[in-house]
Structures are given as C-alpha cells and as structure tokens.
Amino acid sequence: MRDDIAEQAYRGRTASSGFAHGPFVRVDPVTNGGRAAGVPGEEQRALRTALLTAGRQIAALAKAAGGEAAQILEFQVSLLDDDDFLEPIYAAILAGTPADAAWSVALDEQISDYNSATDEYLRARSSDLTDLRDRVIRTLRGGGGDTLKIPGGAVICADDLPPSRFLEIDWSAGGGLALLRGSPTSHVAMLARARGIPMVVQLGLVAASANTALLDGEGATLELDPTAEQVGLFERRRELHRENRTSARAILRRPGPSWGGEKIQLLINIQRGEDLDHADAQYADGIGLMRTEFLLAGRTGLPGEEAQFQAYDTVLRWAGERPVTIRTFDAGGDKPVPGFTYDGEPNPFLGVRGLRLCLRRPDVFIVQLRALARAAVRGNLKVMFPMVTTPDELEAGRELLIDAVNGLQAEGIPAALPPLGIMVEVPAAALTIERFKASFFSIGSNDLAQYLTACDRSNGALAKLADPLNPAVLELITRTAEYGKLAGMGVSLCGDMAGDPRCIPALLVCGVRELSVNPSALALAKQTIDGFSRGGNGD
C-alpha cells in the first residue's frame, strides 16, 4: 500500500460488463509523417492501391473474426466499393489535391456528419469511418504494418477505439477497454460484449500514465494505481459477480433485508430509462433517484415538455406501484450544460447549480415542473430538489410547481402535486433540517462529504481526506435520520456510500433505512446488509 500516492478513480458508462485488473496501457492514434505527393495520375493510382490493400486487410480481419465482427466490418468494405462516395475523391485528386489529403477531407466530412446526428447509433458509426480513414492513410504513408504491442490482460485506454483495432488486439488473456469518449452503442462495444471484454466509455479525462488499473464494467469505474484496499474491494466485487449470476440473483430473490428488526428499503439510482434494462433492477424496492440531467444532453437544445413527460412516464410505468423519486435538473458544478449553466464561475461547486440555477431560469424550470406534474397522475411519483440551502428556496420551487399544476388543470390536462422533498447535501440545510417543510429527505452523501471536508471530490490528491466515513459526515447523517424518524418522514441516502460495503454498516447504525444504489450494486448491498444483520448485534 502506497499511502503517499493519490489513488485516481474515474466513472463512465458501462458498454460491456465484467472486470479487468491488469497493466494500464494508453493507446493513442498513430500519426505518421506526411508523404511526398506525385502528379495526379500517380496519386489516383496510389489511392486505388491503398484502397485495395485496406480492403484486403479488412477482409482478412473479418474472416479471422467471423460472425458479428465480420458483419460490422462489411460496412467499411461496402464504402470501399461505393462509386458515388469515391468519385468526388478521385476528382479532387485530378484537380491537384494529394491522395491522402483528398481521402482525409472526404472522410472527415462524413465523420463530422455522423457525429452531428441526433441518433446515438448513427453517431457511433463515426468510429467505423475513423477506422477506415486511418487504415487507408497508414497504407498511403507507408506506415501500414504498425501492430499494437500490448501485454496480455491489459486495461487499454484510448480516446476511442475503432473496431478493426479492437480485432487486432490479442484478448486471449482477458483485459478490458477504457475509453475517454466512445459509446455503448458503438460497434466496438458490440464486439466487446460478444467477446466478454469489460468496457467502460465516456470516462472524460484520465491520467496519461499509470502502472496498473482496475476496470469495473458493472459499476462503470476505472481506478489507476489502486491501493491495496481498492484492490481488495475490487476483487470482492469481481468475486460476487463471478459466483455465477444465478446465485447473485438468489440473494436478490430472498426477502428484503432487515436490520435491528426494521426492513431496509433497497432502491436504485438511474441516469436514464435504459438503466432499467439491468437484470437486477427488477429486484429494487423502487427508484430512489432518477437523475434528469441526461435530458439536457441532447443536441437539439433544452428538452420540451412532451419529451420529458414521456421519459418520466416510461420509468413510472416500469415501476408500477413502487415509488419513483425524480430529481429536478442538477446542472452546474461538474455538470455544465451549454446555454443553461453559468460559464466561467471561478468555483462552480460553490456556484449557481442545482435548484439555485433552476430558480434563476424559470423559463427552463417550468417546463420540467409541468412535465413532472403531468407524470404525477401516472404513478407513485415523488419530486425532489437538489442543492437546497435555505427553506425559502424550497418554497420558491414549490410555488412554481403549484403554478404548473394549476396551469395544467386550467388547460384541462390531468396533473397533480407530487410529494416534494429535498436533497440533503449542503451542510447548512443538514444542520437546520427541521426548518424545511419537505415531505421526505434524501441525503446526497457525495456532496455532503465534499462540502463538510472541504475537499473537491474530483481532486484525486484529496481522496483520502474526503472520506465519507469522517465522523462529521456520519453525525449529520445521524441527525437527519433521527429527525426523519421523529417527524415521520422518509430519509434515504443516494450517494456512493449507499452501495459501498465499507460504509453500509455505518449507515445502518446512523439510522438510515433506505439506501439507493446503482442497479449493479444491489446484490452486493443486500449481501452486505444480510451479513451485517447476522454478525452484528442488531442494535
């Protein structure tokens, strides 16, 4: 264990589940130098030869891989045989453009076209085109034979990885794939799932180098140069995952966990509707936190009322009788949204974020509140506000919600006022919890710990100091849980602590009876509670 080295952990989106623990290898696109261009006739011939070579290479890869991989590569082969596509490129060469430049320009145009598509599937096709572009360029520039030298079982990190490169890597000793961008619907993600290679995408910025890495395709995390403790926890998660899925499900199928004679509610956190596809989601007692920021990530501006209503309605229909807590937009902080959040705040975590931002942008907020008020008649909906500091913010938000309900009803549209709660994450709110006329409380332990310990949670150098088990954090959790019990109001906890086996016993002791975790953490959380109930004295 090297305490002096800050552990670095990153979270992304799962593209393929599974676990990998191995050397960390960063793969960046190969850029060879330019080439000397000949006369147009020679350049046309050079491109024709390069396209033939590329076609042969891709065909060989497809043949070796077979099945789905071969079908995926067929798209590239078809492009090499598409006269409508190639003709303008040859025409540009005839007009004096060197072969590599003409090829790159044409492909880049297509790539940016796909990148701007609203459909995530189409956007993902851009990596197939990047793959083809780079292969032909390598051939043209004579750098064709570069194979990746990667040790077996490595966790490979790249900006994005094209399918043919994935196929060139020897995965026989396992390993994993960590992409800074990428998409769960990309062809390389399909290949990874087919090969059983764990893959996490959209990790954002990741350190350029490290010796070893832990990639958790279930929790969508990447940990670099982990401490012995991190490795231990990782191996436990891997072990539980490995004890075949049937036995993990068996844990979930057992009656709900309890502790000290009280039933513990296990809820799930979701980012978007697709998260409900996780096989374990069905065993949850409800949704403890549905984030709504994904609705702001579209390319076509801020989301309309109908699109939002549909998103909420889908989740409520899935949940049936079970409670669904939807959190209003929590943008700002580490979640900037162009056209919505404030740019250039010197300290965005202490800036205009969460409810603060929504109250300043009633034009955006009212659309969400109308969609939520409409959804409230469709199921067991609860609504909560993030980043609440004082009771008058809650009341200002409540007034807008009441306005939305009244407006809709006046228009003859079915709407209802859902129970309204707040996130407990600002210490000032946690310390004065009895002043808030909320229907329920949800402790956001990530931000609560960040603000209490004065540690930026994205700063790896402070990871140890930002420990959520700091007694000050536990003290505020205990106070909130006690107040909830006294006042007869539900108190849940939806931060990372809720799914962390190291923290769960402490939370139970603090009096928390509702835990909301990622679907992939449900089985481990339940197992931990069961184990603690059996081993602990129960009070």
Binding site: I72, F75, D82, D83, D84, L122, H187
Partner: protein, 102 residues
C-alpha cells in the same frame, strides 16, 4: 406490400414500409446495396415522396437517407432486370433484412 406500376414501360416503382427497429442503419444499408449491385438495372431509392432519388448501390448515400423505422421506402429501377430488382429489394426490406447464406 409490393405495388408496381409501369408508367412509361421501362420504369418500375415499388414501395415498402421499413420495419427494421433501428431504421436504415449500417447492416441493413450494406445488405440493400449488396443486393442492388447484383442487378444490371439502374436502381434509385428515396425515403419520402418529396426527397431526391439516390443511387441504391451507394452505401454512403443510403446511410445519409437517415430513414427511420416505419418510413415508406420507394424503390425505382429501369433497365433489363428492373422488375426483378424492385421485387427483390422490396422483399428484402419487407422481411426485415434476413440473414442470407452466401
């Protein structure tokens, strides 16, 4: 869903609803162009009655259609085997691009 008419003797037009869940994406587009290339006829396709006709043998053009599920695809062919081409392509789309053994 095959409905052919021969307005001027040579041109065959068929229309078919795209039932593929993901719309006209890479694999359907590849299958469609591969099949189209097996015919001598000039074949064009469009995904709405007001759009320009595009070459059914070009995978990049077909992908650029961005045809969504349930859009009506029109297929037009002229030349010797035009009738067979339209029939085969309409069938391919109507049967949701089945796997064909080579």
């Amino acid at each position: 869903m095959l409905e052919t008419r021969q307005p001027n003797g040579q041109v065959i037009i068929g229309s078919v609803r795209l039932v593929h869940a993901a719309g006209m994406h890479a694999r359907p587009a590849v299958k469609l162009t591969k099949l189209a290339k097996q015919f001598q006829a000039q074949i064009s396709i469009r995904a709405s009655a007001t759009a320009d006709w595009i070459n059914a043998k070009s995978v990049s053009k077909i992908m650029a259609l961005r045809a969504a599920r349930d859009s009506v695809i029109e297929i037009k062919a002229s030349g010797e085997d035009a009738e067979a081409a339209v029939a085969a392509l309409v069938k391919l789309v109507a049967t949701d691009f089945p796997e064909i053994d080579q």
